[in-house]
């Protein structure tokens, strides 16, 4: 085994022809006993330089967000629609658009929506009749419900649909937003790190302090979203009553806008924020129909925007949390090419994770000159990376690297990808 590893490392450093690169991929498959798909494409000459299992289907994980990104680029404008409203007599009735940014820490601060609702002279009524989807996507792991990365989809999110549990100096625990403090139960201490769990179908949170570990200052976890919870939280925040109403969205409405769309794209693409990705599909659905349902946006994109990709898309959610998504490396490469043609690179590259510098690629090897700009994807046993590769000769190439069914550590897979891509950078 040691000989094999030494040989593999040698090959990674020395080989330079397309065939040699393919041999490296074969060796990596043998080493990890997994499946690899890889495509390297030159958008300048429109030639595929390396093709390794490019037509095989892989679970893309968060590479799904590239599809969401392109769909949003095509449908949404420069600003994010935050809410729709109509005024009848002394009432202002509003509907959510799916905008995830309202009081969400990760996105640019914006007070437009807050001030609009706070200052409106009418009574406030919130209607969610336009939201016609489940809080979780198809094929999501049910036991992720308690994890930060699995916030519920909603028509009018607030605080990113997350609640933070924090310890006050007096050793008492509280929540942000404070609404949930009454639902917080502090149990007996446990050995090791603290444990925190929310009931699957309510907002009761049980916290068990850890005896050994240093406590984290804030622990965000998703709250269970409902119209009741939303209006209570909004009333609390605005310091004025907000009621829920069952009022259909028909006829003309006015719109309030929140933040620049790029602010959302950046967090989604760099940090791989699942919640923003899911909500972006709802936003898109709300533009091309009056209904917030991700399937509407996906169906539209497949038929109208992505019909020219080489392989059929099995696409079911915005974030890639679902294991039902399946794409081929060559479809992903073609998609990056379409994005490259639509978005000027000086704007585009600022929205992506940059190797050694930003987002999920921050821990990539630090290089004098960053050369990978793209999107990562990870689910247990699956890892993807795709995007643009800047070569030493100054070319911009497009690549997709997908790994499936490995049992090695993700760190090992990442290291292999990194070494392989460095070889590409040097060769081309």
């Amino acid at each position: 085994m040691r000989l094999l590893l030494v040989g593999l490392a040698g090959m990674l450093g020395a080989c330079v022809s397309p065939l040699a690169f393919k041999r490296q991929l074969t060796a990596a498959e043998e080493k990890f006993n997994d499946h690899i798909g890889f495509v390297l494409y030159d958008p300048g000459s429109k030639k595929t330089l390396i093709d390794f299992n490019s037509a095989r289907y892989f679970t893309p994980a968060s590479n799904t967000k590239i599809f969401t990104f392109y769909t949003a680029l095509q449908i949404l404008g420069d600003s994010i629609p935050a809410l729709k409203y109509t005024i009848t007599n002394d009432s202002l009735i509003f509907w959510g658009t799916g905008d995830p940014s309202f009081l969400y820490k990760k996105t640019a601060a914006n007070s437009q929506v807050y001030e609009f609702l706070r200052r409106a002279p009418q009574k406030l009524f919130f209607s969610s009749t336009n939201f016609q989807t489940a809080h979780f996507g198809p094929g999501w792991a049910w036991d992720d419900y308690n994890d930060t990365y699995s916030a519920e989809r909603a028509p009018f999110p607030i605080f990113g649909n997350l609640v933070e549990v924090v310890e006050k100096p007096d050793q008492h625990w509280t929540t942000i937003p404070s609404l949930f403090t009454n639902h917080l139960v502090v149990g007996d201490s446990v050995a090791g790190e603290l444990e925190i769990n929310r009931d699957i179908d309510s907002n009761q949170i049980v916290l068990r302090p850890g005896k050994d570990a240093t406590l984290l200052p804030c622990i965000p976890l998703p709250f269970h979203y409902s119209g009741d919870v939303m209006v209570e939280m909004l009333s609390d925040t605005l310091k004025r009553p907000v009621e829920e109403i069952n009022y259909r969205l028909t006829g003309p409405t006015r719109m309030v806008y929140s933040i620049p769309a790029d602010s959302l794209y950046k967090v989604m693409m760099q940090e791989s924020d699942n919640f923003i990705a899911e909500q972006l599909l709802l936003l898109c659905a709300g533009v091309i129909s009056d209904t917030l349902k991700p399937e509407i946006a996906i169906r539209y994109a497949k038929k109208n925007l992505l019909f020219d990709l080489p392989d059929k898309l099995l696409w079911v959610d915005g974030s890639g949390l679902s294991r039902y998504n399946l794409f081929t490396p060559r479809s992903i490469v073609r998609l990056w090419e379409k994005i490259y043609a639509k978005v000027p690179s000086e704007r585009l590259f600022k929205l992506l994770a940059v190797g050694g510098q930003t987002g999920t690629l921050k821990n990539w090897n630090k290089e004098d000159k960053p050369y990978v700009f793209g999107k990562t994807g990870f689910l247990s046993n699956n890892q993807s990376l795709s995007g643009y590769l800047l070569t030493k000769k100054g070319k911009v190439l497009i690549f997709s690297f997908m790994n499936a069914n490995f049992i090695a550590s993700s760190r090992e897979i990442r290291k292999t990808m990194q070494e392989f891509l460095a070889g590409i950078r040097d060769k081309y």
């Binding site: 404008g77 600003s79 629609p81 006015r254 806008y257 129909s289 539209y300 038929k303």
Partner: protein, 171 residues
């Protein structure tokens, strides 16, 4: 773009080329969304701005887009009903001064655009696939019903780009 440009009169082809969507309803929804977003951010003090002498003000331009949509939609209705009446053209330069644009505030104009687009979408949603292929003549040019829909979206998109580039650009 699904529409065959060969069936679109030369003058209108550049409008239709601006539309990426292949579905007429989505083309109308998305172009309408983008225009309303832009109008939302135009400040009142910009309402009478003209980028050059003799050019329309922002308000006049928006009223022209509204007028054109109503006329194009009427043409689509006429063709869809298989009415072979030869429809007249409309002279935009004569219409614009009559539109009382300076007497209408931007918010009301935006409301009117939103209401009108919903009405136009309702109109096109009522057409069967066969009706969308019907043709008629307006201003001595032959159009199909579906081409008229794409022209509505494309004409609006053209003026949205003009607004962004010539009226609202920071340059």
């Amino acid at each position: 773009m699904l529409l065959n440009l060969e069936g679109v009169p030369h003058f209108y082809k550049n409008y239709v080329k601006l539309i990426d969507e292949t579905d007429i309803i989505q083309a109308l929804r998305i172009s309408g969304h983008r225009m309303l977003e832009l109008v939302h951010f135009i400040k009142d003090e910009k309402a009478d701005y003209r980028y050059a002498e003799g050019k329309w003000s922002v308000r006049e331009l928006l009223c022209h887009v509204i007028d054109a949509e109503r006329i194009f939609a009427y043409r689509a209705l006429t063709f869809a009903r298989n009415d072979k009446t030869l429809l007249p053209g409309f002279e935009e330069k004569d219409y614009a001064p009559q539109a009382n644009a300076s007497g209408r505030n931007l918010k009301k104009i935006a409301d009117e655009m939103a209401h009108l687009r919903i009405s136009t979408i309702d109109l096109f949603e009522g057409f069967t696939p066969k009706m969308l292929t019907f043709k008629g003549t307006a201003n001595q040019n032959e159009f199909s019903v579906v081409a008229m829909g794409f022209i509505i979206a494309g004409h609006e998109t053209h003026h949205r780009k003009v607004l962004m580039e010539r009226y609202l650009s920071a340059k």
